[in-house]
């Protein structure tokens, strides 16, 4: 065997790496709003995971001696019409919100990811049919579609998750497809075909990792949207059912009746929803900015 004429070798240029806390601090300085979002998100996750440790009472414990009490030392955020502690129910509500939020966002975005990449890869009739279905589904406003699904399937946490996931899939599919279309034209996809890989392998192993950036952005945006949708559905009585603690339900039980006499009943769950959605959106924006090299100027 003849040896090739030249052997090329060169050293890698290793950038000096800062310790992790310093790098996190740099990131916070660059994305202050994103950092705030991240704090909210992390706080919510901790609240949800350790709800039974963090919360002062049992979420379903009714203290009939203290119904509709204003915030005080024992009940920091007051109690509702059944004497249940609002702080406890907000903490447990985070569990419901996050569970629904992450489940919907993950299933919706992942479904859209596979569908979008496949649509771009195969093209032709398949692409046409998939995109027309996407058009039809996207023509409905999110909440209307979700309501329609709940009306068909019935209420309950699982059905709410399905109802919110269905409109997410085409949204993500559309965004991912446009990215995947560009990737389809890059020679490495043809190279992968020339190496004899099957279609599913090319889609999942070679194209999907290249559209991770839009996927992650859609995923974080979906979490916020899903929390809001779940709260809306629950508020309309079409979502999570009592006695499961959920922010939308707490609003429903308090908004009309106690808006004047006991304003803490609707205000605090409302604040929780606002803060959570705001936090997730800021976090998502920051993720998008960090993943998009074109916006990475500073």
């Amino acid at each position: 065997m003849s040896t090739p004429q030249a052997t090329i070798e060169f050293e890698d240029i290793e950038l000096p790496k800062k310790p992790i806390p310093a790098r996190i601090w740099d990131l916070c300085k660059r994305q202050p709003l994103g950092a705030f979002g991240a704090v909210v998100v992390i706080a919510m996750i901790i609240m949800a995971v350790f709800a039974n440790v963090v919360s002062p009472y049992d979420p379903e414990r009714a203290d009939f001696a203290n119904m509709l009490t204003a915030p005080n030392i024992d009940y920091w955020l007051g109690t509702d019409a059944f004497g249940r502690d609002i702080l406890t129910r907000i903490i447990y509500g985070a569990r419901t919100a996050l569970f629904v939020g992450f489940a919907c966002a993950f299933v919706g975005a992942t479904g859209g990811l596979v569908l979008g990449v496949a649509s771009a890869y195969f093209g032709g009739i398949f692409d046409l049919i998939v995109q027309r279905i996407v058009d039809v589904v996207m023509a409905f406003p999110l909440i209307i579609l979700a309501l329609a699904v709940v009306a068909t399937l019935g209420t309950g946490t699982e059905n709410v998750i399905i109802a919110i996931t269905i409109p997410f899939i085409p949204q993500c599919a559309r965004v991912v497809r446009s990215n995947a279309l560009a990737i389809r034209e890059i020679p490495y996809v043809d190279a992968a075909r020339a190496l004899g890989f099957s279609d599913s392998r090319i889609i999942l192993r070679h194209m999907v990792p290249n559209v991770m950036a839009p996927y992650l952005i859609m995923l974080t945006a979906f979490v916020g949207q899903a929390i809001l949708l779940e709260a809306s559905l629950s508020y309309l009585g079409m979502g999570v059912q009592e006695p499961t603690p959920a922010w939308g339900l707490m609003l429903q039980g308090g908004a009309e009746e106690f808006a004047e006499s006991a304003p803490w009943v609707p205000i605090f769950p409302g604040l929780a929803i606002t803060l959570a959605v705001f936090g997730f959106n800021l976090f998502g924006d920051a993720v998008r900015d960090l993943l998009d090299p074109k916006l990475r100027t500073r």
Partner: protein, 332 residues
């Protein structure tokens, strides 16, 4: 030597808004085992499409192989089911693409891309594949292969990436490698290294090679036989020596006159080929090179000249192929 690949009357067309583009219009050629064949021609003459058709990699729609047979090791590739053609792709026929910068997936490590192919086609385990990947990188002249396998394509230069592509093409011990302008995107010094490398490795391993190129220097030095294509048709075919020193088609002569040559006297003027290649949607009955040919006669407009033998293995498609030589001699 036995025939490895036989292409018979291959026709590949694209449907476009402007009409049907006859990108490849009835080409026939063969490749023997272990042989190096060059396909030359200017951009858009159907060289790449013809080669992609062998592996059925033409996107359909808009492309379609409308006629012909491609016999690889006794089987017609065009009639094989998808699962069989996938075994041939990468396993028995592999390709080296034009653009090393974009032919490797940027988000997967080099090692993963190399081993994935071998595990698929050779049924190797991860360990065996890793071992062979190290060997392959060494063979194509990449230092520190163990460390390199863990790196991503952006950590490689263009020439290095083309070496990786060659390693990838050789990894499953194919019978034939199709190199589609393997050196176009590289600078001249690296070009020579890559071609040398490909020639040595294919000779050592007995792999046949089809080099698609528009660089006649490559042809003269590395190919045993040459196929000259113009507007989707083969216009001349012969050994490298025959085509280079004794061309019998006006287009081949035009091509040779338009490149600087070390073997002819210095101070000779380079003569470009006048005009543009024809629009492939509007080809008529006659010879497609006729508008640019200084030997064109009335007969050329009536029908496309058949490919006829000149002596033994050399064939050319020109009505006046026997007069060209005299003409050239008297001119110089």
């Amino acid at each position: 030597m036995p025939r490895l690949l036989e292409v018979e009357n291959l026709k590949t067309q694209f449907e476009t808004g402007a009409g049907i583009v006859k990108a490849v219009d009835g080409i026939s050629y063969y490749v023997d085992e272990g042989e190096t064949v060059a396909i030359v021609g200017e951009s858009g003459c159907g060289k790449s499409v013809g080669a992609m058709s062998i592996l059925r990699l033409i996107p359909d729609p808009p492309g379609k192989i409308v006629d012909g047979r491609i016999i690889f090791e006794g089987r017609n590739v065009l009639e094989l089911p998808d699962s069989e053609i996938r075994k041939i792709r990468g396993g028995q026929i592999s390709m080296v693409f034009q653009e090393p910068m974009t032919s490797l997936n940027p988000v997967l490590t080099i090692g993963l891309q190399l081993t994935e192919t071998m595990m698929l086609h050779l049924g190797l385990s991860q360990d065996e594949a890793d071992k062979r990947a190290v060997e392959l990188l060494g063979m194509v002249g990449i230092g520190e292969p163990e460390r390199r396998l863990k790196q991503y394509p952006h950590q490689f230069s263009g020439g290095m990436r083309q070496r990786v592509m060659i390693a990838l093409a050789l990894s499953c011990k194919p019978k034939l490698i199709i190199a589609d302008e393997p050196t176009t995107a590289l600078d001249v010094t690296i070009q020579a290294q890559i071609l040398e490398l490909m020639r040595n490795l294919t000779k050592d391993m007995g792999v046949a090679l089809i080099i698609i190129t528009h660089n006649l220097g490559v042809v003269a030095r590395y190919a045993e036989r040459v196929i000259v294509m113009y507007a989707g048709k083969i216009v001349e075919m012969g050994t490298a020596k025959q085509v280079y020193h004794d061309p019998h088609h006006p287009y081949t002569i035009g091509l040779l006159n338009s490149v600087p040559r070390m073997d002819l006297h210095r101070g000779r003027r380079l003569v470009p080929i006048e005009g543009q290649p024809p629009d492939l949607t509007r080809l008529d009955e006659g010879c497609s090179y006729r508008p640019r040919c200084r030997w064109a006669i009335d007969k050329c407009a009536a029908s496309f000249p058949p490919l006829e033998a000149i002596d033994g293995s050399q064939i050319a498609a020109c009505f006046r192929k026997d007069e060209l030589e005299k003409d050239l001699k008297s001119a110089s």
